[in-house]
């Protein structure tokens, strides 16, 4: 199969395709959202190195893919995420405070510190909690889209995952069901070249991940994932198609993970620096900046200034999160079920009696009534 790569912006910032209809302020907003992803990434890595947080799943190089694609969504639509879409959640309404509380896994975290870092959720903007288990969210998104169809609620479900996840069971059942049901959803595969140390050529013998859609009757599109305008345009098309009952689309955003898989990974063991350098020349931020400079929507020095503003905003929030109160011990046994059942109340009470005796419990950690 031959699938042509969709591109609007050349690496030098020249327009070569039909640009989506976006106002000047929308274009500037897109740039700011992308820059926030990059600054957040840098700040989080710094916190990790300082031992303040445990883990960072990096997004450097993926800013256009994450932001451009998600910019297509309306507020009512849902985004089913993997590890790296936290920046899209922030753009769609996840407060920075909640983002950071999640990274700190502290008492301010809406998930009560139960998930490891980089596992965001935001009910307010329809961004469900993700497990670390690769590919599981794909069928959830399809089922939720089916529910939307049955209930006539009108929203579309955008389902995100990586190149590695295309080998998961969830990918195959998800695409198959979505095709059969013509569910109002679309799939966004962020092909960043790597699944930890396994490169995309070892993940599939197909020429493109987009080819895989055909087997399920789902049209596949391949997009330059470092071209924010192309990412936006193709996702907007898929969204409109899904919304109008036209069925699902598989969109593959071809990009590159510039850093290690996470803060615990050393990519020099398995990939050539020359490949990384080649992708650095296609940096999505630089590309979009050149375009905006060319159109006079940014001036020299604007990026540095914006970066400073974003850093200040993020650092202020970091300071607030550093002062979070300790986690209530009762959260150990809560939310397993709607009510804390008797056997868990007993287990907790026995535990807290020892903790109190040894001075490890705080005020408010007291026993449950039985």
């Amino acid at each position: 199969m031959t699938i042509t790569l969709q591109r609007i912006l050349e690496p030098d910032g020249r327009l070569v395709g039909e640009a989506p209809k976006l106002s000047e302020s929308e274009l500037r907003a897109l740039f700011t959202h992308m820059l926030r992803v990059r600054v957040l990434d840098e700040r989080m890595l710094k916190l990790q190195r300082a031992g303040r947080i445990g883990f960072v799943g990096t997004a450097k190089g993926l800013e256009a893919a994450i932001i451009g694609s998600a910019y297509a969504l309306e507020k009512r639509d849902w985004l089913w995420s993997g590890l790296r879409e936290g920046g899209a959640a922030v753009m769609r309404g996840l407060p920075l405070a909640e983002y950071l509380a999640q990274m700190y896994c502290n008492a301010n975290d809406t998930a009560k510190g139960r998930q490891m870092c980089n596992h965001f959720q935001h009910k307010g903007s329809n961004y469900p909690s993700w497990s670390s288990v690769i590919g599981t969210q794909i069928s959830h998104g399809v089922g939720a889209a089916y529910a939307a169809k049955v209930r006539g609620s009108g929203e579309v479900h955008a389902i995100y995952f990586g190149d590695g996840a295309t080998s998961s069971n969830g990918f195959h059942s998800g695409l198959n069901f979505a095709g059969v049901w013509q569910a109002p959803c679309y799939f966004v595969c962020i092909d960043n070249g790597w699944a930890i140390s396994v490169c995309n050529r070892e993940q599939t013998a197909a020429e493109s991940f987009a080819d895989k859609g055909a087997a399920y009757g789902v049209p596949g599109v391949e997009v330059d994932g470092n071209d924010v305008l192309a990412c936006y345009r193709e996702c907007k098309r898929a969204l409109d198609r899904a919304r109008s009952g036209g069925g699902p689309t598989l969109i593959v955003l071809k990009t590159y993970r510039m850093l290690g898989h996470s803060s615990s990974d050393d990519p020099s063991k398995y990939r050539d620096q020359a490949e990384v350098d080649a992708w650095a020349a296609r940096d999505p931020m630089d590309r979009f900046e050149r375009y905006l400079l060319g159109r006079g929507l940014l001036k020299a020095g604007d990026r540095a200034m914006l970066e400073q503003e974003l850093t200040t905003e993020i650092d202020a929030e970091i300071h607030r999160q550093e002062a979070a109160p300790p986690m209530a011990l009762k959260t150990l046994v809560e939310d397993v079920y709607a009510d804390v059942p008797r056997h868990l109340r007993l287990q907790y009470n026995k535990f807290i009696a020892v903790a109190e005796r040894l001075g490890h419990a705080q005020k408010g950690d007291g026993a449950f009534p039985l």
Partner: protein, 324 residues
């Protein structure tokens, strides 16, 4: 003898097996040039080539399913599942296929294979990088379940597992990967499966444990000794098939038993030990059997140190059964 960490001993075992037997192959996610996320397979692709140690697509179902096929056709696969938490996509292949091929074919087709996977908490990995799922596998006839706690045992048990004619789930306590060091003989040796290890002698209380809980129980036993309570600490090493006679003998020696695991309590392995003793040695018991376990909840993250049994919780149980 070299002094190795537990993960280095695993690596040494794999190299030893691959040098010894050309049919041994290693497959999994990131086991190739990266050498595994914990470096258990470091250097294998370099020494044995891509045909014998290779990265797979991201599918546990595929890793185990194809591993079964390899085992059925003359290879000895050692499959790595990156974290035990990610073994569940392959649960069907393990439980319905690997565990039952011998039985359903009247012994005509068998699956000599090893599934290695790091398990357990203590690394701030949250729900999906911390679980202890041994009970699921122990509830599956046809599987063997092995958990080492020292470098010496890690190598000897892994080599015995690779030699074994049946599928072995080999659970590696990741919290101990670099925490414990010990002398490991060079070359091939095996530690027989289904034999337990006496970690410490004692006449007052018997403590049964395995994996990452062994050093925790040893610490508690040392603290108990300061209070005049001498504990017999037993590392079970193989959960299935269990050395039942060894367990009963150790229980009878003191008549007071504590069982420790980090997995949830309900239907956990501690229940099996308790039942075994209750059925066969109740007359020897001087006190009710105590279990120290994780809570019956998913594995937490920020509060993981409260969830996992620690020396003070184990000591509390030891004192309780001792004073009963």
């Amino acid at each position: 003898m070299a002094t190795l960490t537990l993960v280095q001993a695993v690596n040494d075992a794999l190299k030893t097996a691959m040098r010894d037997d050309p049919s041994v192959v290693v497959l999994g996610e990131d086991v190739g040039p990266k050498g595994g996320v914990f470096l258990a397979t470091e250097g294998l692709t370099k020494e044995f080539g891509k045909a014998r140690c290779f990265d797979t697509p991201l599918s546990e179902d595929g890793i185990i399913g194809t591993g079964i096929g390899m085992a059925l056709n003359g290879l000895k696969p050692v499959c790595e599942i990156q974290f035990q938490d990610f073994i569940f996509p392959a649960f069907d292949q393990i439980v319905s296929e690997a565990a039952k091929f011998r039985y359903r074919s009247g012994g005509q087709y068998t699956c000599p294979m090893v599934i290695r996977t790091p398990y357990g908490g203590g690394i701030r990995g949250g729900l999906y990088h911390s679980q202890s799922g041994e009970a699921y596998f122990c509830h599956t006839p046809g599987l063997k379940v092995v958990i080492p706690s020292t470098p010496h045992d890690a190598k000897g048990l892994l080599l015995a597992s690779i030699d074994d004619p049946d599928p072995v789930i080999f659970l590696e306590p990741k919290a101990l990967y670099r925490q414990v060091k010990g002398e490991v003989p060079e070359g091939k040796y095996t530690v027989p499966l289904s034999t337990l290890r006496t970690v410490r002698e004692g006449k007052s209380v018997t403590v049964f444990c395995y994996g990452a809980m062994v050093p925790v129980c040893l610490k508690a036993a040392e603290q108990a000794a300061e209070k005049g309570i001498e504990c017999l600490v037993v590392d079970l090493r193989t959960l299935l098939p269990l050395d039942e006679e060894g367990v009963l003998e150790a229980a009878k020696q003191t008549g007071r038993v504590v069982v420790v695991h980090e997995a949830p309590r309900f239907c956990g392995f501690g229940g099996e030990i308790s039942a075994l003793i209750a059925e066969n040695a109740i007359e020897w018991m001087e006190a009710p059997i105590a279990r120290v376990t994780g809570f019956d909840t998913p594995f937490p993250n920020t509060l993981e140190h409260h969830y996992m049994p620690d020396a003070r919780r184990v000591l509390d149980a030891i004192e309780h059964v001792h004073g009963y």
